[in-house]
Amino acid sequence: MKLFSRFMPSSGMRQVPKSVTIHAVLLAYTVIALFPIIVVVINSFKERRAIFRDPLGLPDSSSFTLVGFEQVLLRSDFGLYSWNSLVVTILAVGLVLLLGAMAAWALTEYKFKGNLLITFLFAMGIMIPIRLGTVSILSLMVNLNLVNTLTALVLVYIAQGLPLAVYILSEFVRTIPKELTEAARCDSVSEYKIFFCVILPLLKPAMATVAVFTMIPIWNDLWFPLILAPGEETRTITLGVQQFVGQYVTDWNSVLSALTLAIVPVLILYTIFSRQLIRGLTSGAVK
């Protein structure tokens, strides 16, 4: 009896159908969201014939194969692509966080001429996609001799990520009580020390949010790698997969394996960090 009542909403029968409906809808949508991904991942471990005969079946001892993965690793440099993506993403996100926090602090804490103009300039960047400047960015990179370097990507991604970072972090800086900095100034602590020792640690939760918002578009971007760094040595994972799939489109094992190789690491990272990530998304930083 006790066990029974624990699983029943205590208000009785009236609410049961409602919560069942909610679960049914959410479950159905979860299936819709996951099904395509799962199909691709399980078929990447199957032989070509099994892929077509029974696309929804799990690989068994007779159909299991890693030939697709072997082909992918043989024909292209997935390790290098992933490394490139990792380097670009980490450098760009790290610098966006640091420079963004510094700029947000300067713009909210100090009164100076041009403050409003600079704030407005950054705000514009949230709405206007940086891609629209691609024509000039490319010629700029040509002039700076940065085409086909990861540096070009890092620089562009910093410029791309800064506006939102400055906006979110400024909102957050505003919530930090003035007394904190005023107390520090009364003890004649330098402005640099105030920022790095007092403010920066307080910004951590907001920076987690910014990191999420900045990281995903960078990792997944195709446009700038395609235009600024299409060379074999600087290819990112997204571009690498795109090129590979385009080239071997009829080799189903390879295509499925390449997609799986691109999907699985992201999903593993996502599962590990999803709690922080979603907390960041829902923390109200985007009010």
Partner: protein, 311 residues
Amino acid sequence: MNPSNQHDEKKPFPWHLVFFLGPGLLIYVIFSVYPLLDTLVLSLYNEQQGQSHFVGLQNFITLITDDAWSHAFWNALSNNFTFFAIHMLVQNPIGLILAVLLSSPKLRLSGTYRTLIFMPTMLSVVIIGFVWQLLLSPIWGISENFLYSIGLGEYFDAWLGKESSALITLAFISVWQFVGIPMMLIYATLLNIPDDIVDASVVDGANSFQTFWHIKLPLILPTIAMVSILTFVANFNAFELIYAVKGALAGPNFSTDLMGTFFYRTFFGFQLQQGSASMGAAVATLMFLIILVGVMLFLFFIQRRIQRFQF
């Protein structure tokens, strides 16, 4: 106190401002603001044999009226609005419904649903494009078999390959991927509505639909407006999905061409047509203006009327 005393202590040059603001602002201006302005300027020039000269609005006139260009331009623009409309009509309502369901009080597993439904949003558009290309492929036949199994088999078609359905199919793929974003933003706003306000409406006798309609919906309206403008901007930024699935030519017969792919082709050229930096800049400028107008309309007509609520 003598007022002149204040001048005695000369204010030191604010080096800390340069230190804090300098690096970020420098990178932002060089790699975002300057290229954008330069693009706007470039769109007024024409280059021939490495020489560029000022041509005023000629590039735009060519784009909009010249037979070689205008058809492609208007086609891409109208496709882009179709793409946007489908997102507004499908993605955002579904996101809203999911957010409302997720925020139902005392829902078990709501964290799990949230995490899983948001999963596709994390992946690259390119990957998602390929995944769906495979799933919808008549060669593989997964979708076809699925439709047969629920009795709708005869409706199956090579949607991605047909001029009439390719764009809509791609839009739905994009909706499928990005529904997590409106869901999360609206969900966050719903969580911010104090329980007391919802309780008060229950005490006032409202059923759950009435509570949603009269209390919650007005309070999440600002978020829905923000989601709409984000959708608008993102749709004019869309390129990857089309490029991955259909290539730069946005086939079949340009039926899936969006401003993003049109911009890319204009700039880099395709098949027989030479790429042109100044024409590319003109397309980018038009996109810039469309986004600007959209954002302005939003700020002046919608944002102004919708109040944000402090709880």
